[in-house]
C-alpha cells in the first residue's frame, strides 16, 4: 500500500527548526541528526533536504553562511527570530495533534 504522507507534512520542517534551535548545522549533519534522534523513524532523503532548507531560508525562517571547518567548506544553517516563532507554532500544533492521537488510541484501547 502506498504510504500517505499528508499526516507527515510539516514534520521534517519541525525537525529541522528544532535541531537548528540549538546550534548551526550543515545539510549532512541535519540529516544524520534527524535520523539518529528519531531512531530512523523520521529520515528525510539525504539529498531532498536541501530544497526544504532553501525554502525555509527564503521564507526567512533560516539564514545560511558558508564556513570552512577542518579544511571543508560547507553551508551552515541557523535559526532566525522568525524561524523560532515558526518552531513555536509548529511545536504547539504537533503537541495538540499528539494529544489528540493519544486520546484516540486510549479510547480505542478502552473499547477493546
Amino acid at each position: 500500500m502506498a504510504e500517505d504522507n499528508s499526516f507527515m507534512s510539516g514534520l521534517p520542517e519541525l525537525a529541522i527548526l528544532r535541531l537548528l534551535q540549538d546550534q548551526e548545522m550543515y545539510g549532512y549533519e541535519i540529516v544524520q541528526a534527524i535520523a539518529a534522534r528519531t531512531a530512523q523513524a523520521l529520515s528525510p532523503g539525504e539529498g531532498v533536504i536541501y530544497p526544504l532548507l532553501h525554502g525555509l531560508e527564503k521564507a526567512g525562517a533560516l539564514k545560511s553562511r558558508r564556513k570552512t571547518v577542518a579544511g571543508r567548506s560547507r553551508v551552515y544553517y541557523s535559526l532566525t527570530v522568525k524561524g523560532a516563532r515558526r518552531l513555536s507554532t509548529l511545536t504547539s500544533r504537533w503537541s495538540d495533534l499528539n494529544g489528540a492521537v493519544q486520546a484516540l488510541m486510549g479510547g480505542a484501547l478502552a473499547v477493546r
Binding site: G45, G47, V48, Y50, P51, H54, G55, R72, V75
Partner: protein
Amino acid sequence: MLFDNLAEILLKGGVAPRHVRRYVAELREHLEDLTEQQRHAGYNQEDAALRARALLGDDDELAAAMLEQKQFRSFIARAPWAVFIPLPPIIALLASRLIFGSLAQIGGHYGFLANHAPLPPLWYQVLATDVTAILNLFTMPLTAALFVALAARQRLKPIWPLAATLLLLVLFIHSDATFAPSDPEHGIVLGFAPIFEKPAQEVMLDHWPLVTAQYLLTLVPWLWLLTRRQMTHSKL
C-alpha cells in the same frame, strides 16, 4: 559530470540557474560526506562512492524535491513572453539612444550641430563614422545575443529568442552620420531611426550592404543556439 543530468532537468523545469547551482554545490558536498561515511564503514573508495550516490537519491527524486518548490522558478521561465517580447526593442533603442546621444552631446558641446555650423573637424567626423558603424554592426546583434544567452541559460524553447530576434529585425534600427559640406545649414547630420520611418527607409536603401550585414549578424546568435541544440540532441 556529476549532477549534470540533474541540472538539465531542473533548468528545463524552470528552476532559476542560481538555485540550481547552489543545490548542486550542496549535493556535491553532501556526497563527499556520505562517501567518507561509507569509507569509515569499511568500503573501498569505488564501492563507497557508489553507495553514497545511491543514498543521496537518484536524479528524478532529487529533481522532484526541487521542482515541487514553485518559489525557485525563475521569472523568465514563468513568463517568457514578458521578457522576450517587450524588452529586446526597448534595450536596442535605449542602447542606440545612449550611445548616439553621447555623440550628439559631444557635437553639441563644440557647436558642430548648430545651424550654419561649418563642417566639423576631422576627429569628430572619424568619431561619428566609427560610432555609427559600431552601433549598426553591434547594437542589434548584441541585443539578440543577450536574449539568446538568457534562453540558453534557462534551456527555454528556441521560439522565445527567435521571437526576440524577429522583433529586432522588424523594428530594425539604423544609425547614420552624414557630412555635407555643400549643405548651407548643416555641416553634419546625425540620426538613428527604426525601419518603419520613411526617411530611415530611404537611408537604408542607400546603405543596403550594411543593412544586409546588420540583418545577418542579428540572426547569428539564434542560428548558433539552434545548431547547438541540434548537436546536443544528436549526441543524446
